[in-house]
Each structure stands twice: as structure tokens, then as C-alpha cells.
Symmetry: C2
Subunit: 148 residues, 2 copies
């Protein structure tokens, strides 16, 4: 863990903190320069998805209040909803204790998942069996046009 995040462990709510720019310098990006970002619907608490951000995506997200990830498969910034219309408006962004994971509180327009489900988490597992926990709100063909 960076010295800065170590120091924040014993910081109180009314203490003056380093600038966001200094914090982003101390964030522990992985070997690909990425940090995982969990998106949670701000009012219901539902966890919608997890995706990745590089520093540029995170800075754009903070600046615009519209969530922008980094697509590992496409190798470029991914402005959530740019093809589906299912955007995420940022309510707050919070780093964790060791500065290597981000929690985003968002207002999700429609489904977060490319399958048309509200949340990407829908394959529940037990020691032996699995089951599907939710159905699509909308046909993915409608979200993305007739590509499939």
C-alpha cells in the first residue's frame, strides 16, 4: 500500500486531505494501468456491475459525472451507454482503504447489463447447483439495434 493511503487510515472526517490529483497518483493501478470499479445504484443499493478504469477514464468520469470505463476487449475508453443508451450518472466515487478499488454510486438508466437485465449479477451458485436470478427488462436486440 502507498504511504499516502496508509496515512489516510488514521485521518478523520474533518481533516484536510491531499488533492484528488495526488490521490490518483497514489492509486494502485494493475499491470495494465487499470483499477476495478464497482457500480451501485445509489438509492436502492443494488450492485449493477463491475468494470475497469484507467486514470483517464476516472478523471473523465469525475469531470463529467457520466461514468466512463476502459474496455479491455476494445482497448479504449468506453462511455457507458454510448451504444445502448443505458448511461450511468455519477453520484459519488469512493476509493477503498488500500487505493486499489473504486465504488461508484450511480443513477443507472434502464438495464446495466448487455443482456438487458438490470444487474450483471444473475448467475447464483450454491455448492452443487446454479440458478438464474433475474430476467431481461428489455430485449438486447432493442438495446443495440439488430446486431445479434
Amino acid at each position: 500500500m502507498s504511504a499516502l493511503f496508509k496515512q489516510l487510515e488514521s485521518t478523520n472526517r474533518d481533516d484536510t486531505l491531499p488533492s484528488t490529483s495526488d490521490l490518483l497518483d497514489a492509486v494502485k493501478y494493475n499491470e495494465q494501468g487499470l483499477i476495478p470499479a464497482i457500480a451501485q445504484q445509489f438509492d436502492s443499493g443494488e450492485v449493477l456491475m463491475m468494470a475497469w478504469m484507467n486514470r483517464e477514464a476516472l478523471e473523465e468520469t469525475l469531470r463529467t459525472d457520466r461514468v466512463c470505463y476502459y474496455s479491455r476487449s476494445r482497448g479504449k475508453l468506453w462511455r457507458k451507454g454510448e451504444s445502448s443508451g443505458q448511461q450511468q450518472q455519477l453520484k459519488s466515487a469512493t476509493l477503498d482503504c488500500d487505493g486499489d478499488t473504486l465504488l461508484l454510486q450511480v443513477e443507472q438508466t434502464g438495464p446495466a447489463c448487455h443482456t438487458g437485465r438490470r444487474s450483471c449479477f444473475y448467475v447464483a451458485i450454491t455448492p452443487t447447483h446454479a440458478h438464474i436470478t433475474s430476467e431481461p427488462l428489455i430485449d438486447p436486440a432493442e438495446l443495440y439495434g439488430q446486431r445479434s
Copy 2:
């Protein structure tokens, strides 16, 4: 994405699913054999932490209903709460659409964070400033003995 998770996209709630063992074969572990696991307090919805699991940790968690991660720094299984007493009892485990992230609904005993805070997410960032969003519930020295 694996063919199996692709197939689950259009599976309904009453369809018969593959066994958990087949699903765990199809999970997309990273180069270190790990998958990120988000822990959420099952009733309040609070996101407590994110850590990593290998297949062995995930199987043990499902079998025992007590959350076991894989510690990347220690290079071994990490039964959450084994030194602090702050265990996580598993309520449910759900994989995401592309089988590379896990959401755990848990009953967290006391604080989840090693700093004594309930959640590990407490460094809120805006475009310019940061602030601490929560205080420790308990002194970490008490959680871990007088090591610090």
C-alpha cells in the same frame, strides 16, 4: 466470454442449469488464477470490500458458508476474520454475465475493514478534493491485538 456463459444469457429462471462444478470450470480467472469478489452486507446493501478468490477459496466459501478469500500479499487462503474475528457469513454468491466477477451477499460481523471501519470504501473523491466518509467503529489495535 466462455460458450457456457454466453448460453446463460438467454436462460430463464425456471430452466435447468449446468452444475456449479461446470460453471466454475467456465469462470474466467485472471492470469493469477483469481476472480474479484465484492462483499455486500445482505440486508443494508452496503458494499463492504472487494478481495480476490481462487477456485479453492470459492469452493470452500460455498461449502462452509464462511467467506474465504485468497490473499495476494500472503500468497495463501485468507479466511476472513481469522485474525480479527470479523467474519463474513455467506448468504448468497452470484456470478456476473461474463463469469469473471463474483458478488457475495454476507452477514458481516463488526467492521469489514482492517482500519476498524465498517466498509473499506471511505475515501470519497471529487474532481478536485477528497474527504473521509466514515470513522472506525473500533480501534484496529483492538481488532488485531497490539501489533501496531
